[in-house]
């Protein structure tokens, strides 16, 4: 706190008794929230606690079923994003709302009802330069957005809101896509904005960063208020208890077995991303039987491409992928699956399962070529059903009508369907990407336990995650990836958060 003016009389924003339901589930159940001018106010809670929903209500993206939104004492309903912007509320979403093909300047002015009907690029670019200077957020106004890094895109989102005079800035999990160092710079910029009397809402589920950035913290759990506290009056431990409601079950500690033979080896692997820009620039990596290798890195540094070249979804532009000492670089996806490579992709509902097909059909989506699911030419319906029912039983996919579409399952159960399918194929290598993201605590623990079981059964596991805690807890070794290069690999028990942080930012300590 650097003495920002905290006015007690009238808050900038006051949300009272907000209720918002989505198909019968109360995302917000009578939530109160208050934001003062000049403060950074963290909104803390687990995934699904209702943080984003609450802020969508404030930003005019969702209409509350009950409750009032008061902005500077005016409680007229905020009916649209535009109305919110007009009243000084700006929101930076987790997934940026930028037009890729537009330049930074065009994105910044988009939707702004300036008096002039003509676009005048010069003054616009000058104003952007001024704002970016003032808040130390470097951007190049004339470049198209698709050429920018994720960090730069985030700065464009923030500038967009400042440009239209936002007094309240809401950031939804802004650091999820940043390196620790970029995060520090962002926090510095936010403090500057607060010092000018703006109110900043900082949505997060990370305790340490909330402690570092916020003046006050409001904790939500299952759509309800738990408490609002001043940062100086609380501790990480207290916040954790408020957030989760009980103590976390600990994952089984990694034991000291020796890893077996090498299963996967990447040898100077290079590959391009969808835009034709290099995503992997000479990756060397080995995963051995009976070990979990955790791949750490800020989102978008080549993790996805790495998984995809191993599975065969992305062609190599250089190097080799060796699986059990065979060069599989030129193999088709199906052949690699047959050889024993399993993959649980990051975007489960898009790449993992076919949401509109039934649970049973998704369970057999990889075994349909073999008995008992397949006869000689036609599918064996009864065999397929039995196979699916067995899997549902073994992996405890609860409450499942096997003929119901997968989309009707919860996130945790979708993950189970996926894991059941992959594990039942008896892979020798399992790649799990962001496998616990978006799951509730229990489903996440169940997923972690399944992955540990695979390791203990002697399989090689490549675990890709942005959750450092999870990586340190689960992995035997950790590799850090930055801009398509492996910056370092070391045993997990030697892991040092700061060291990993620096490697993730591309600096060798």
């Amino acid at each position: 706190m650097d003495g920002a003016p905290v006015s007690a009389e009238q808050p900038l924003v006051a949300l009272r008794g907000i209720v918002k339901e989505f198909s019968g589930v109360r995302a917000n159940d009578g939530v109160d929230f208050e934001l003062r001018a000049g403060e950074v106010h963290a909104l803390l809670g687990e995934n699904g606690a209702g943080k984003t929903t609450l802020m969508n209500v404030l930003a005019g993206l969702a209409r509350p079923d009950a409750g009032t939104v008061e902005i500077r004492g005016d409680d007229t309903a905020v009916r649209s994003p535009r109305a919110a912007i007009d009243r000084g509320i700006g929101m930076v979403h987790q997934h940026f709302r930028l037009v890729d093909r537009f330049t930074v300047a065009e994105n910044v002015t988009l939707g702004w009802h300036a008096p002039k009907a003509l676009l005048r690029r010069r003054p616009l670019e000058r104003e952007i330069a001024r704002l970016s200077e003032l808040y130390r957020m470097p951007v190049q106004a004339g470049r198209p957005v698709w050429q920018l890094s994720v960090g730069e895109q985030q700065r464009v989102e923030i500038l967009k809101n400042l440009y239209r005079g936002a007094q309240v800035l809401i950031l939804d999990e802004p650091t999820a896509v940043l390196t620790p160092q970029e995060s520090l710079a962002l926090v510095d910029s936010l403090r500057r904005m607060a010092a000018e009397g703006r109110g900043i809402v900082f949505i997060s589920h990370k305790l340490d960063e909330v402690m570092a950035v916020a003046d006050r913290i409001t904790v939500l759990r299952r759509g309800r208020n738990v408490a609002t506290v001043a940062t100086s009056d609380t501790t990480q431990g207290e916040l954790a208890r408020m957030m989760i409601g009980h103590d976390l079950p600990q994952a089984a500690a990694p034991d000291d077995r020796q890893a077996g033979a090498g299963v996967l080896r990447l040898d100077a692997v290079e590959a391009d991303d969808d835009r034709g820009l290099p995503a992997l620039r000479g990756v060397d990596l080995e995963v051995r039987a009976g070990e979990i290798v955790g791949l750490a890195g800020v989102a978008g540094n080549g993790q996805l491409a790495l998984a995809e070249v191993v599975v065969g979804l992305r062609p190599l532009s250089g190097g080799r992928v060796l699986f059990e000492d065979r060069d599989v670089s030129g193999w088709s996806i199906a052949r690699r699956i047959g050889a024993g490579i399993g993959y649980c992709p990051e975007d489960r509902l898009r790449h993992g399962v076919a949401p509109t097909l039934s649970i049973a059909e998704n369970l057999i989506a990889k075994s349909y070529r073999r008995r008992p699911v397949s006869g000689r030419l036609l599918l064996d319906r009864r065999g397929a059903r039995r196979a699916a029912a067995e899997l549902a039983e073994r992996f405890d996919i609860r409450g499942a009508d096997l003929d119901a579409p997968v989309a009707s399952l919860s996130g945790g159960n979708v993950q189970k369907v996926l894991l059941a399918r992959e594990i039942s194929a008896d892979p020798r290598l399992l790649i799990a990407a962001q496998s616990t993201r978006g799951l509730d605590v229990h489903a996440a623990e169940a997923t972690r336990r399944l992955l540990l079981e695979q390791r203990n059964a002697g399989r090689a596991v490549l675990l890709i995650s942005e959750d450092l805690d999870e990586l340190v807890r689960m992995s035997d070794r950790i590799a850090v990836i930055y801009e398509g290069r492996i910056m370092g690999t070391f045993p997990a028990h030697e892991a040092d958060e700061e060291e990993i942080g620096l490697l993730m930012a591309g600096r060798r300590p």
């Binding site: 979804l313 790449h351 509730d440």
Partner: protein, 363 residues
Amino acid sequence: MTSGVRRSLRATAVQITAVVVGLALGGLSLAAIGVSPYDGISSLLEAAFGSELALTQTALKAVPLALTGLAVAVCMRMRLWNIGAEGQFHAGAIGATWAALAFPTGSTLVLVPLMVVAAMAAGAAWALIAAVPRALWGVNEIITTLLLNYVAILGVAYLVTGPWRSAAGLNFPVTDVFGPGARLPALGGGLLHVGVLFPLVAAAVLLVLLQRSRWGFTVRMIGASPQAARVAGMSTARSVVGIMLIAGALAGVAGMVEVSMSFGRLRQGISPGYGYMAILIAALAGARILGTLAISFLFAGFVVGGFALQALGVPQSFVLLLQGLILFSALAGTALTRRPRMLGRPPGRRGPAHVAKEEPSTP
């Protein structure tokens, strides 16, 4: 299962309602031009379905519609838009004509199978021109198939005004009349010929292929989620090419039936837009195989009945308006009955799915 049955029943109910509403709207537009709606619609239906002769004619008219309709529907199953059934139809007609002209004295037993095979090959080849760029490089098949229609239609025009022009055609742009062996064998005593069996056979084969075969499973999986199918090791490219070949062959056979039976030679204007009506038909049927058969029979009835309307001073094209009205009634019906947050939205598009991330999942 139950939810599946319920969904399919609801879809059928929407379709039937749409036909009724469409007919009612068609009646209204007749009234607007001073023709009695009752007279108009009833004479239309009478001429289409009211007698054995009418039913026969409708069944014959339904053949090209059903075959092209299936050609569109199978592609829809895989999220492919085959706008090119019209072109594949013309290509099939060219293929069949080639066979018929090459062996003018061939016997039915040899010539008809040869024409069918040639038509299927030509239709499939035409579809392949769009399928390969789509499968390899992701070139938009909507546009390519549409463009190829015009090339195929102009190709027919070129052949009948050029190399294949009949010397006996009195300078009309037509080919020689096919020999007797190029006609499909009759079925029963009347006007029916074995061509009416083609859609039924095609539908049966497609049903087994899609619902029961391994390959069909990959097609359905790709249709439901191309990305997930790819991760599961299914080759999208191979399935795209496969399904387009099937579609092209189906539409090609339709072209064969028409040149063999309706015209007995190749000439211009052999299709009043079957390939486009096919898209409406497949869309109305929700890309279901049996539904496609049913709706093509209905639409064929309208086309046949449309001739009867000319007696009342209503142009034949009125049936096009009628088909459009039914389509829009169905679109409106689907929109009205769609459950607000049903997950039937195509995945893989940017937007809602991401934003909804933090909403609680139903336990």
